[in-house]
């Protein structure tokens, strides 16, 4: 390359850095970080482990109290819905940009995928809900035409919701396995100690033939697409079967997709916070940069604006409609006992992200998006508490057969959580984080093969009198 004194590029040139040495350096660099487990890691793992034990105690305590009093189960269902909204939605951050062939997602896609392992915990949390959910014989409105169509099983919601959630968990595990397979081969060949041993077992003899790469690429695309379809469907089920049908008069065709949208927003926030911790404390500062925060920050801003759109569309119909049943639903969720909680949620999930993320300096920073992701996650947890605790409070009042809820039937105060509820909430959220942390001891938190693949597509070229970086895309 020839430069003149003004640093202008005078002769055509192209520079790539895809040598064996560079590829090895990328592998070695990432494996070096992966192999280190600091004392601080184990301190936090122990802390989350202790919290998780409290969660298990709360879980057993809750089960021993029985399923008769539905009104006390709101917090339990809320934490289940919260985990489905966050950890189960996080893999979408890997799936969508990968389908769109964007490069900025490479350092964060694995972290998003590892969250699928927490789906197993969600599945355990879901099991008691099968017993909690009343059969259709209680006379509630449902999707299942029960009572109108002979032969419909009274446990239709239980059967289909269970199959959908199991399907989602299976898809998540498949996606993670497909993505990790080449990295297990790296651990087998380059790793040390128990990681080498387990890498060898889990790589299943992966050699990296063209046919294997082709198979892996296309399968990841199909499984990812199915994961997205199933995620939306599962949220449709959760929001209808565990929420809406328990409140007489809550008829809102938009709400199931609102629930799914909330999951996408919280999923992005979960990954944003994960990459913040990986960067600041996990040693991945050189891999997770401003590009990732900027890319996800834009998504978070868009999804936060959509949060308002979805909420306002439903609210407007109810508010303008003014039917007594709709007034009662608004009283329950917005204007009544949950008013201050609602205002807090509104600020945390919409106002704060909106008024801060519109500014480039906040969006193109590390701390700004991470703080706002925390705000979104706290807001989402409170939102799940508001909706599920209120709905199960109503479910406990045996109004299922009524077509609409009267104003005098609306609970006047928020259900207080019991100690077991607090244990479950803290314990299972900590349990999900613990699963993620422990998984990163075996599975590299930053995708090795995708980082090396990027070297193939990156080049610095002459552009008139200056240099620009060009990122290619595979066909």
């Amino acid at each position: 390359m020839v430069n003149d004194p003004g640093d202008r590029v005078l002769e055509p040139y192209v520079e790539t850095d895809n040598s064996v040495e560079t590829r090895k350096a990328v592998s070695d660099g990432l494996l070096g970080i992966h192999n280190i487990t600091s004392n601080r890691f184990w301190q936090f793992a122990a802390l989350f482990g202790i919290m998780f034990i409290f969660g298990i105690v709360g879980f057993v305590w809750k089960l021993s109290s029985g399923f008769d009093d539905k009104s006390t189960w709101g917090y339990y269902v809320a934490v289940f819905a919260f985990l489905m909204t966050t950890s189960s939605a996080a893999p979408m951050v890997a799936i969508a940009p990968r389908i769109a062939n964007s490069h900025w997602r490479r350092p964060i896609s694995r972290a998003a995928e590892i969250w699928t392992l927490a789906g197993c915990l969600n599945l355990i949390l879901y099991i008691p809900l099968i017993w909690l959910l009343p059969s259709l014989e209680n006379g509630r409105r449902s999707l299942w035409f029960y009572g109108q169509q002979e032969g419909v099983p009274a446990y239709s919601p239980h059967i289909w919701a269970t199959l959908a959630i199991v399907g989602l968990v299976l898809l998540g595990l498949s996606l993670l396995w497909l993505s990790t397979l080449p990295d297990f081969a790296v651990l087998r060949d380059q790793g040390e100690g128990w990681k080498k041993k387990w890498g060898g077992k889990l790589a299943l003899g992966w050699r990296g033939t063209s046919a294997q790469w082709n198979w892996q690429h296309h399968r990841m695309g199909v499984v990812g697409a199915f994961y997205f379809m199933m995620l939306v469907f599962v949220h449709f089920f959760i929001s209808v079967e565990f929420l809406m049908v328990h409140v007489p008069g809550w008829i809102d065709s938009l709400y199931p997709i609102t629930h799914a949208h909330n999951a996408l927003q919280a999923g992005v926030a979960t990954v944003m916070l994960t990459m913040f911790f990986l960067r600041q404390f996990g040693g991945y500062k050189d891999y997770i940069g401003l590009d990732q925060f900027w890319g996800l920050g834009k998504l978070l801003l868009a999804l936060s604006l959509l949060w308002f759109w979805f909420w306002f569309s439903s609210f407007n119909v109810f508010w303008y409609g003014g039917k007594p049943s709709e007034q009662a639903v608004l009283e329950l969720f917005v204007k009544g006992p949950y008013l201050y909680l609602f205002i807090t949620i509104f600020i945390l999930v919409f106002i704060l992200p909106w008024f801060t993320m519109i500014w480039n300096p906040v969006r193109r920073s590390v701390w700004g998006p991470a703080i706002l992701a925390t705000s979104v996650l706290i807001g989402t947890l409170l939102d799940r508490i508001r909706l599920y605790v209120a709905s199960w409070d109503v479910a406990g009042r045996s109004m299922a057969k009524e077509l609409e809820m009267k104003m005098q039937d609306v609970p006047t105060k928020i259900q207080t959580p019991g100690y077991e509820d607090i244990f479950i909430m803290v314990g299972f959220i900590a349990g999900s984080i613990l699963i993620f942390m422990l998984a990163t001891r075996l599975i590299p938190a930053v995708n090795l093969w995708e980082q090396k693949e990027m070297l193939l597509y990156k080049a610095e070229i002459q552009f008139h009198r200056t240099k620009v970086t060009v990122m290619g895309k595979p066909r």
């Binding site: 592998s27 032969g151 003899g205 990296g208 296309h218």
Partner: protein, 171 residues
């Protein structure tokens, strides 16, 4: 006859592509040689044949099976108990749609996962000719053929300038 495999390692993509050309000239056919890499190169980078995939077969068959079963469950129930409700037809799509959608999805998911396991040809018990240098960044060209032809393969691989010794293995 027992087959053996030989592996040549290359630092440069062009050398690996030359090795494939040499193998073709020496009479080896597609299917006898493979490229091994630690990263997914774009298809055809080394002049190799683009792998054919029957990707959509499994999910489509699964979805069709799931849809059919769901259709039979829902339509069968409605026809077995033919009660007219609210003036709607006996076979009402809205009452069937959710189960048919989920049936299709579950069928597609189950078949896709079976397909993944089946098509992956994993686990591979014997690695054949393989080197750990591949996951470090080297490009491997492996030839799996009759024992009598391995010398020809080795010559073709060496002609392209291998990086180190030829590695041999049993299949």
């Amino acid at each position: 006859m027992a087959k053996r495999s030989v592996l040549g390692l290359y630092s440069e993509e062009d050398s690996a592509a030359d090795a494939l050309d040499n193998l073709r000239e020496a009479g080896f056919e597609e299917g006898e040689y493979e490229i091994l890499t630690g990263v997914p190169y774009p298809e055809g980078t080394f002049g190799e044949a683009e792998p054919e995939h029957k990707l959509y077969r499994w999910p489509l068959i699964g979805a069709a099976c799931g849809f059919t079963i769901a259709l039979l469950i829902t339509a069968g129930t409605e026809l077995a108990y033919p009660l007219i409700t609210g003036g709607k037809p006996i076979l009402s799509i809205p009452a069937m749609a959710i189960i048919m959608y989920e049936g299709s999805m579950l069928g597609a998911i189950i078949f896709t996962i079976i397909g993944i396991i089946f098509e992956s040809r994993l686990p591979r018990i014997f690695m054949g000719a393989y080197s750990e240098k591949i996951t470090e960044g080297h490009i491997g060209v492996t030839v799996t053929t009759e024992e009598t032809r391995t010398d020809i393969a080795e010559t073709a691989l060496n002609k392209a300038g291998t990086d180190g010794e030829i590695i041999r293995g049993w299949e």
